[in-house]
Amino acid sequence: MKRPKLSSATTSQIVILITAAALMLLISGIQQNYARKQIRNNLERNAEMELIIKSIDVKHSLEDVTLALRNRSWEFEKFLHYPDSLFDVTRRIMEENPNFAGCCIAMVPNYYPEKGRLFEPYTLRRGEVIETFQLASEEHDYSKNPNFIIAAENDSSFWSEPYHDEDDLNVTLITYTFPIYDEYGDMAAIVGIDLNTEWLGKLLNSRHVFPSSYNLLLSGEGRLIYRPNGEIKHKDVEQIMGLINDSTAKHTISASGRVTIFSFVDWEDHAKGSVYYYTPNSIHPWSIAVVNYDDEVFAPLIKMQWRNLLLTFIGLLILSFIIQRSAKNISKLHQATLEREHIDSELNIARNIQMSMLPKSDETALRDDCDIVGSLDPAKMVGGDLFDYFVRDEKLFFCIGDVSGKGIPAALVMAVNHTLFRSVSAHETNPARMMQSLNETACQRNEQNMFATFFIGVLDLPTGRLRYCNAGHDLPFVIGKTVKSIQAKPHLPLGVMDDVIYTMQETTMTVNETLFLYTDGLTEAKNEKHEQFGVKRVEEVLKHSIENKSFASKTLIQTMKEKVDTFVNGAEQSDDLTMLAVQYTPKEKHIIYRETLTLFNKVSEITRLNAFVKSATSALNMENALANQIKLAVEEAVTNVIDYAYPNDTEGNIEITIEADESRIRFILTDSGADFDPTGVSKADTTLSVDERPIGGLGVFLVRNLMDSINYERTNGKNVLRMEKQYVG
């Protein structure tokens, strides 16, 4: 079974959490380390203080004893003469000092000859009872007792090492011995006071900072004078004693230099503890130690650890929650950015498609009778401006349009209008009828209420006749001797109302006149102060171009662009800037042949026609194959007129004029029959099979294919068909 793959988002989330956790734990660890040090320092200071205080207390307690006894020394002297009274002395001492365990007066051997060698009055306390008796005997020879010997030899008082009571091994005693002297200054006896070291315990076990802490009091030889009872770990005490007395062990010294510190580990339950011990001058040679257990010392720290852990955990939960949320947000952002980029790239593609739909100037560059230049500077977003032009049958079809809005919707509508323009102008030359067709489609299913301003023009190149129709668009300018707006009925833009009747206007362009078309991207071009370029400025520029005699299409457009650029001065372009300049430049033809023939609309007249054509082609020295082609084309054209122009059985004339210049021959066919445009007939399908082929429709087809161009105009109630062919070169 495959392990599910973690998305990179989840992985990075986990990484962040782990890093955060690690950081938090690290910080927590550092804090705890610091806290631990602080606690140890405090402990050290507290321990030291405790040891000092307690050692002073011990000293005072000891001094209480020694002082009490010194005060009695006169009594000892007094009663020296009365040996039996010494029993009472010991008894009185015991009665007055409830904390004494025993008191003895060990006479110097043979001091009282009558008493024998050894004489030791002794009082003992057993619980509540005090017993007095003579302790010495040959079995119990105190003169051999080291304490006695040391006291006697050193002639000084001292505290003994601790020892266990013979009668009760649980009891630890310590003896204070001091010599007493008679009136002669000779040592008379050694007095010994036995003390149960528990008496020191009350001092030592009061005032502990930590519940399980305890003190140890050690003799000069490192033996325990006092250790507390109760639930103290005796094993630990042995271990501690060993460590204290081990001279090879390396112990730390406190900051003050007085206290020795070491730590130990309980062998059984591995509890850790620390020992601070001190040999103060006050109780020299005794040492005092305080034992603390780490679990109590560091209890607050451990509490803190747990608290920290909990806080860390909560913090991590919150963090992971935040991360989750922001991860969602980031991925949303990421999505949105991706979508935006996608849209941007789609817009770019749309823009490229839009630009590629525009005609290239080389489509009409070869013509010498017109000069057309168009220019579209798109705004940031793909827009709804369009211009188009092409020549069909010696007529220049052109249009300019502006769809409401911007972006893809506008571009789509414009694309549809463009396609429609091309398709209606394939068989229609009346701009009003074309506009009507466009409007019908624009109004269908126009839920978005997109509308487009549009201007269509059809310029008949042989005659200069301009037919046009306007649908709400900015009126073009005509630049000739002067600058004037073309006279056009505005109508409504496309897509507004489906019952608009579009009408056509006509004018004739004179030689070298230029028609300047534009969209509101030109007049509404804004500069930084939000001022518009305006129609007046456009007119000004056009007027200047007349003065400078520079209104050829290319120059005109360039000049206008420069003026707008200067005006706008870098401000952002908000709309497509579209311009189209159409200059009519018919060239003078040098006619070298012209003949006219008039025929009746009868098939039999074809013979006369063919002879007429033959005479022209011979006169021009045309080669046979070409001449025959021309003959066929003309025959077909005339046959068409004979067949269709006049209603059945009516008589009518057909006039044929043959005109030629040095390179081209032209046939002009005029009849006054019904309005019939052969150029609008759809092309015959030459790929059909025998069975599918209709018997007709070849006439116009042949004319188109054999001649270079055909052109039809309805002028003054007559059909005028022109056919042209290049015969030289």
């Binding site: 098939v603 194959a625 082609q629 046959t639 004979i642 015959a684 030459t686 059909l688 007709g696 042949l702």
Partner: protein, 100 residues
């Protein structure tokens, strides 16, 4: 414009001489009329001396081809000159007729 119909080797041969323009179309059509009624034999149209053909002429040939085909007979055009061949190419007739 001369139109001669002969029967040879079990085939009908039509020879067209001259220019088959619109003016002469009617008379040629009438001359070819018998072929529409006859059947059972293939038709060869000898165009060696045909100088010119207009669309009305093409129409006549097409009509002949259709009626012959309907009867299961073939129509073959022979010896078209180059110019006429061009016209046939232009109009696509070159694909529907058998040309020799």
């Amino acid at each position: 414009m001369n139109t001669n119909i002969t029967e040879k080797d079990g085939k009908y041969t039509v020879s067209l001489e001259g220019e088959l323009d619109t003016a002469h179309a009617l008379e040629v059509e009438q001359a070819m009329q018998p072929l529409h009624e006859l059947s059972g034999k293939d038709i060869t149209i000898d165009c060696a001396k045909l100088d010119y053909i207009a669309s009305s002429g093409l129409r006549i040939l097409l009509g002949l081809l259709k009626s012959a085909k309907a009867k299961g007979n073939k129509v073959v055009l022979k010896d078209l000159n180059d110019e006429i061949k061009e016209v046939f190419k232009m109009t696509g007739f070159i694909d529907i007729f058998d040309i020799e």
